[in-house]
Symmetry: C2
Subunit: 327 residues, 2 copies
Amino acid sequence: MNPAKTDLAEQITSSDRRALARAITLIESTRAEHREQAEALLQELLPNTGQSIRIGITGVPGVGKSTFIEAFGLHAIEMGKRVAVLAIDPSSPRTGGSILGDKTRMEELGRHKNAYIRPTPSGGTLGGVARRTREAMLACEAAGFDVIIVETVGVGQSETTVAEMVDMFLLLLVPGGGDELQGIKKGIVELADLIIVNKADGDLEKAAERARREYANALGLLRPSSPEWPPEVTKCSALNRDGIGAVWATIERYREIMAKSGGIGRRRAEQAKAWMWNEVSDTLMNRLRTDPKVRRRVGELEEKVASGVQTPGKAAQELLTLFLSGS
Amino acid sequence: MNPAKTDLAEQITSSDRRALARAITLIESTRAEHREQAEALLQELLPNTGQSIRIGITGVPGVGKSTFIEAFGLHAIEMGKRVAVLAIDPSSPRTGGSILGDKTRMEELGRHKNAYIRPTPSGGTLGGVARRTREAMLACEAAGFDVIIVETVGVGQSETTVAEMVDMFLLLLVPGGGDELQGIKKGIVELADLIIVNKADGDLEKAAERARREYANALGLLRPSSPEWPPEVTKCSALNRDGIGAVWATIERYREIMAKSGGIGRRRAEQAKAWMWNEVSDTLMNRLRTDPKVRRRVGELEEKVASGVQTPGKAAQELLTLFLSGS
């Protein structure tokens, strides 16, 4: 017995791209009234969400991520899909250009009527950016996109955050003599459901195959995160659009296996609950950190704790008392 | 201008073992008045803490962890050290016996006057157990123990928690044909500063050397957490007390390098600040979760969020409003 949809919700579910863009702008706004409107809109859209495959992609700069996403996105479109690309990059402002900011990136994909590319919102904490991306993902699903790609670079905790909002997590690497993982943050490899060795072309073709085998061996030493899907390693040349079909086929196979086992449904239910608790915890801690009484005291307490003249427990107690005592 | 020490603090800093045991019992108590006394005591002891090397050890059951700790502890005592052993095992009650509960474990070490073994406190959340262990560690340092071992099994997040409270993290493994890491949770390998292949004796001697080489290769693919210390792999036979001296020497070398670079000091300052914020966040979230108004509502909200009929954001907002509205 849902109430009649608002105009904006109606337009989004009729795949109106400008309505979608307006919705995401609303989602990204930090103004309290916008936040409330965004929450209401998402609640309206919720029944129309969830039908996409949510794919996270990470890789350090230079690995060919945009070339890959362009090739991959166009392939998915050829397969009859509609593709949305979002990004999480809390470190760089929108104008920084390090991710999705460069307008020449993914030019062909960006122009396609069945693709929607949204640059990363500027600034804010990782928690804030993550929320906006999760919400933008729901809006894209409501607008009928059936492949959602969330892109990130190896900065801070952003890969973990992305892995926690998608159905499948892809790690893009380049061949480079056995120490290719040197630039990758610890723990990222273990988040991957699929490792893709890119630049398997020209001079690097043999090295790419060697790297693929090495990673496959190294992965064999780790316990898979899903019992029904041990992580795989494949190679491709995004530049020559070679091996992209195989990546797509692997994703389809993953989706089939995980749908059959109920793995994706379970993963999403857990993600949604964790998201709720993260929101609770982030909002609460944010209120504490921005509390004027806390702000006046926190620098000195941190210093005392770091230099070992005050116990962390006593300092924490003081901060809590300041926060909960009211204004 | 510290006030005169209380009797208990005085006794602890004079290495009185019964006073130390009383202090840890106080630390483990959940009663509010005890908590306050414990905080005050720790604040008193703080100037006498920090001089030990804090070592975390993990490994799945069957890897020979207690045999190793016994051999290692006795070796450290031979080197003139005083050794305390603590444990984090949030999953098992004290009587469960899965860790440090079995009185026949570490018999020789347990009887030694320069060793102190404290079984894991029963029950509670990982956060709670972690706090008590961190505090017990400080009490042991104040009592003059200069090697503190914190033991854990591969359950939940406990290894990460231990790694975040020690100077150096050791992972114990057994040889077993290349898939030894199968039983180890993802991410644990990457926490290790030193991997030790145990049971390098009898029939397993060759397999141990093979495993050592394999791990060394696999580690080469990962970026070290400290630039000045790429993780190492060594082997030993705790049973024959063979290779234990080499482990000790590696720890000394680690300590020297990290002391010279200031790495240990930086790590501890960061750990102390993170501990303070964890306390703040844990306590705040604990108050929210136990709030009667929140408790009446949370089950239904979680279910709605998991089944996709309510957005996580709206559910979070409702919980926060309930909590912050006062009683």
